[in-house]
Symmetry: C2
Subunit: 423 residues, 2 copies
């Protein structure tokens, strides 16, 4: 990578370098949501930049002045690429820069991120959650079905997935109310009702779709890149007690549908391109519609942080309880999209397809508490002397993700949520 | 019921009597979708009627002039009731009628239903499919898990359900492309790929939600009536071979997501009120949040018709292959809504909650071909000498539903779809 600087100050270690340029939606005080691009500690107001005519030759102005990205996503990869190149030209500080933005009154175009509130960047029509980590699927099989083979016979043939709830996808910072529901204690004959006592997270990455297909026409795996706009961090909050009692035979429902938190900035596939790598080999080889010679793994480092209410009060920093990497996933995003659409279902701009929990090989790399604490049997030790098996009220969980090569960094920011007592 | 007539001619046996007044969306030639109300063979143009000021004192004009019902649904039951009363007053032919509509130029307000194309009446944010017929759940358990107890231990405690795909919900008349996917033949070691060879239907009824809740706040069962706007017929098309191979452990996905057909007219809960009845008793008693003294079963007669391509060509009428009744469902709509929201998930105006397949006690009352033909082992005999285990290309399936008491009829019209060869 050539070394490129922006004339906007980007602090060392920032997720939002000029190589990144992720898209989001933000509100200043009580104004309506506007689309923006993160750079350093600031957000560039795309609505204002479009109004200044800076994209008129590459993109419909209305798509950049909407409160959500869906119309922009529908325009497809050539437009995404042209707008990205224009943004880089407007923000870079060298001979090839486009000086028009720099010449304007910056106070109209830039706001500090700390002064805005991020909102949902897209309207999610359909949300699908996959189950694509071999380690996670094996772990959950052992924990949920202790008396049988952990990995079911279909797992190595199908990127297993199911539909989740769209209405409760929220951005970073939204409180999560502890859900109530039915659970059946291990030795009880009948279920009881009450707040979940086994509240958990799932560390995931999700992709947001672009243009989409026509109903009845699958998306071939070779076309996946045309249809995947970008990625976000996803916390698929999970009430394990509710899930365990309800999930057979039709899958998870209320154990998941109460909240799903995403990071507010969509990091584009183009920004992640330098971090593409080979994915783990698959044995047996999947069916031809799931085969591609393209490299579809991405070297994205991931971390889960936990800070309890007592830690916060006593001044303890959040503790990193797990670290892993997205590149180890067995099934790739291209395979997930080709599979999800192979029956001709309609993929729309703004759909969210999450990876499933990203777990590595050992407890320090697991993407959920039920795995890290092995069903609660090995509680985590926290710096203030507390322990945790599952989440308690006041706990705050933060997911982080970033790519790094020397001083070349592209990051996701964070997806954070604090548990509020059941109503 | 007092006998009420409309000054619009309503043929004997019509589903769309003045007692019904269901809502839908329609297009005339290439015009944009408009909201309408069915009466006899006609559709009343709500956009035009609102423009004439006929609802200004009871409802925001914009909600009736939108292309979808979601804004109207968000207004809540008092408005729904006031608009329904006004519609009845405008259309009835007696001393209590409101003569304003009758005095206007009818050609501006009424179109024959055969001259319009119905479109989706609502934007469906989230679609949930339940599994609430005891007979169906028992049958499917026997067929999908022949070596274990057919009804799982949770079934009599939880209205089991899962999220389906919103993007492929289509109205009556939309062709259904046969889906392709993975299936594993019974004695094969590995799956094969190709068009489904076990394409099926599921006869269901779904409810459409109104105002909705706030995220984190359950809807108590006693409030269900405030949140349920009306009902439609639902055909949850199912590829049994794809479903059987994919559905463990996370539930059905591609076996269902290719298409779901609904009837285009939403029959309101108010119109169905005279047909309320007691639902089957539940043993064991459900947890308190699922208990209500209100009667929540509805006496709705249902039929499934099949017409193959050869039958069509030879002039054979569609054959009724099953008849059943919605009133026998074990779990009620009120229980389904209270359960779905008990974890605080967000219910939005226009969500669709389908009942699950409605099966009676014997093969003539089963709501799917896999049940009617007992996994294909007892094919149906058709009047032209053909037989059917599962659906073949060119087959057309039509669901019908109606309530009747003497000459007092409230019907759903139909939800029909014809199978098109796989692409």
């Amino acid at each position: 990578m050539p070394h490129v600087r922006s004339w906007i100050d980007v602090p060392a270690g920032s997720d939002f370098t000029i190589y990144n340029l992720p898209y989001g939606a933000f509100r200043k005080s009580d104004g309506p949501p506007r689309l923006g691009v993160a750079i350093g500690t600031k957000v560039l107001d795309l609505h204002a930049a479009a109004a200044a005519g800076l994209f008129d030759d590459v993109c419909d102005r209305g798509a950049l002045q909407a409160p959500l990205l869906n119309a922009f996503l529908a325009l497809g990869r050539p437009t995404w690429k042209a707008v990205r190149l224009r943004l880089a030209a407007l923000l870079r500080d060298d001979d090839s820069s486009d000086g028009r933005l720099r010449a304007l009154d910056h106070t109209k175009f830039f706001t500090e991120q700390r002064d805005v509130r991020m909102t949902m960047p897209v309207y999610v029509g359909d949300y699908v959650d996959f189950y694509s980590s071999l380690e996670h699927a094996t772990n959950l099989g052992k924990l949920f079905r202790p008396n049988s083979e952990p990995l079911l016979p279909n797992w190595r043939h199908i990127p297993i997935g199911y539909h989740g709830r769209s209405s409760t996808i929220v951005v970073d910072g939204t409180p999560v109310v502890r859900p109530s529901g039915q659970r059946k204690p291990p030795n009880a004959d009948v279920p009881v009702f009450g707040p979940s006592t086994r509240l958990d997270i799932e560390l995931e990455i999700g992709f947001i779709t672009g243009r989409g297909n026509r109903m009845g026409e699958p998306i071939p795996i070779g076309d996946a890149r045309e249809h995947i706009f970008g990625l976000v961090l996803v916390n698929d909050w999970s009430a394990r007690d509710i899930q365990a009692w309800e999930y057979q035979p039709l899958g998870p429902f209320l154990g998941k549908s109460f909240a799903t938190t995403i990071s507010p900035w969509i990091v584009t596939l183009d920004a992640l391109d330098p971090f593409r790598t080979a994915s783990p080999s698959q044995d047996p080889a999947p069916l031809p519609y799931l085969q591609t010679a393209e490299r579809w793994a991405y070297d994205i480092r991931l971390a889960v942080e936990l800070q309890t209410e007592k830690m916060r009060a006593a001044g303890f920093a959040p503790k990193t309880v797990s670290q892993t990497n997205f590149k180890e996933m067995y099934w790739t995003m291209a395979q997930q999209l080709a599979h999800a659409s192979v029956n001709g279902t309609l993929i729309r701009p703004g759909d969210l397809y999450a990876s499933g929990t990203i777990s590595g090989k050992t407890a320090e790399n697991f993407g959920s508490f039920i795995e890290m604490t092995w069903n609660g049997s090995k509680p985590l030790q926290l710096p203030d002397g507390e322990t945790r098996a599952f989440l308690e009220d006041g706990d705050e969980v933060t997911l982080r993700g970033w790519c790094e090569a020397g001083d070349f960094r592209v990051g996701f920011g964070k997806a954070s949520g604090r548990i509020v007592a059941a109503r």
